[in-house]
Amino acid sequence: MTAITLTSLTKRYGTITAVDDVDLTLPDGEITALLGPSGCGKTTTLKLIGGLLTPTAGTVAFDGIDQRDVRAEHRGAVMVFQDHLLFPYLSVGDNVAFGLRMRGVGARQRRRQAEEMLARVGLPDTADRHPDELSGGQRQRVALARALVVEPRVLLLDEPLASLDPHLRDGMRELILDIQREEQVTTVVVTHDQEEAAVLADRVAIMFDGRIAQVGTARELHDRPADAEVARFLGSPNLLPGVRSGRIVETAAGALEVPHGTAQDGPVLVTIRPEAIVVAPASGPNILAGRVRDARDLGARVQVTVAVGDTQLTLVTRPDALRALLPGSDVRIRLPADALWAMPAPDPAAELAFRQDVVEGVAPVDAGTRTQGAADADR
């Protein structure tokens, strides 16, 4: 049972700072996800926790004890790598038993424990097989068994689902959650996929450029992003720049009552989840008149784009509303005050960099449609 504390953790390679002054507490027995785009320093952070890298500055502590002088092999923080890294010259059983062998456990007991653990990850009777004979999903399970068999204090998972086919991900995810529920081992999952983070983790820490941008439950991050960068990364399509004056934010789409978020008067960015926007309300505050630009039937729900002046808003509603939402028709929408969230306006330099990313196709502009496109491609 181990709580992890990262204090001012920093890792530099020459002039590049991969992990930049990270302070983070990972509670005992919980799953914490490090979520962020590739190159944001999340895997480096994982390796720093595991002792596979030495920090340039700052500390990693397990239960308050600084791990600076504890070598990786003695930390009990076992890492499962993205591409399983099974030893190719060992059988599946010997792979799983590897850590036990390093601890001097006798051959008989190693074998017994390895077989037990293989059965637990759903691969009974595979001990004598060669890793090459297994599928990618099975190999990932063997890698997990190999880590769990040594009863680690901390389990470090680097993109555990990324190399798996979509239909294998659910099984692996359930397996990780089941085992974690039983063992209560403190777990850190690195992922670039927000859904994966949301499903697996109790808490999510979002990282950009080596810094932690926000920590919270997936719901908190989704509803109350700390800044525009987090909101954009999580695929929030509705970002309205405006100027706050008291409870009211003046936006290009109109004046909105925004009771939550950044309270300071001045420039802010307002966001709202597509599913929180209400179509054709009878009356109430925060009602905007717009025109339907586009309505897409996604099966279980309908995604509608509404133009309010020059501002576009994306909302999601039930399919039976589709008939009333033909493109070109007028529509009234309400942005419930409790669902609106104000963030500090991004500084102009960051905004410029973001726009360049968009031009180069790096950053997601509208994650709603993007995800849809990806799903189409998968089919």
Partner: protein
Amino acid sequence: MRTLLHDERLRPWLLLAPALTVVGVLAGGAIVQAAVRSVSPVRGSGETGLTLSAYRSLLADPELPRSLLLTLYLATTSTLLAVVLGIAAALALRQVAARSRWLTTVFQLPLPIPHVVGAVAVLALLGQSGLFSRIAGSAGLIDDAASFPALVFDPLAIGILAEYTWKEVPFVGIVALALLRSSRVTEQEAAARSLGAGPWQRLRHVTLPLVLPGVLSVAVIVFAFSFGAFEVPLLLGASFPETLPVMAFRRHTDISLAARPEALALSLLMAAVAVACVALAMRVARRTIREEGR
């Protein structure tokens, strides 16, 4: 031609063809010719048809077993030395070379220098009238040059081994270093480390099993070279027993034409022994690597 190269089954063969032709015509042709001439009677001997007399007189030569043993001893010892020291050097270089690139360069220095130069250097350094002998003499460690231990022209062939080691350790080392630096090896080492393997455990259970199969193919080249090379033993070896290549060379250049078929028979024998040794060593080494990993 373009369409031929696009044929998935044909393409590898087409790409291999030039190399196969060279190997087939030169090496294969030479072996066939040597085989034919080794069983052909010498002109003027009065024999006709095919004869095995060259093989008979060769196998009757009392020098042959001793030469064979010496050659096998030299090739095996120098290969083992090159593999062990080469891997050790590569491991050490991987540790420090990130900081000092020049060290790797210095380590590779012997690679482009010809063996003959190395042999002459060994003579000048280790010979009884060589530099070390003179230093020992002026330091009062030995009375005269003759009491300096025989490191050249000696029965243990230390001079030859020294030259081979000087040249082959960098050869094995540079290949081992490339393997050690590959992400495949470093990532597996990290995985083992995370699972609790200490430095020596990682070396034994992860690094060596991953690196040895690659080093093995280099070891085969080193063995075949040491087994077949004649210039270094000619310069640094004792006059008796000779190594097999020196023996073959002497018969090739013998004034008597009758020795020619024997030289060819000996060359074929050497080729057969070398191939057999390599095949055996590969089998044993592969099995050992598999067992070691367990």
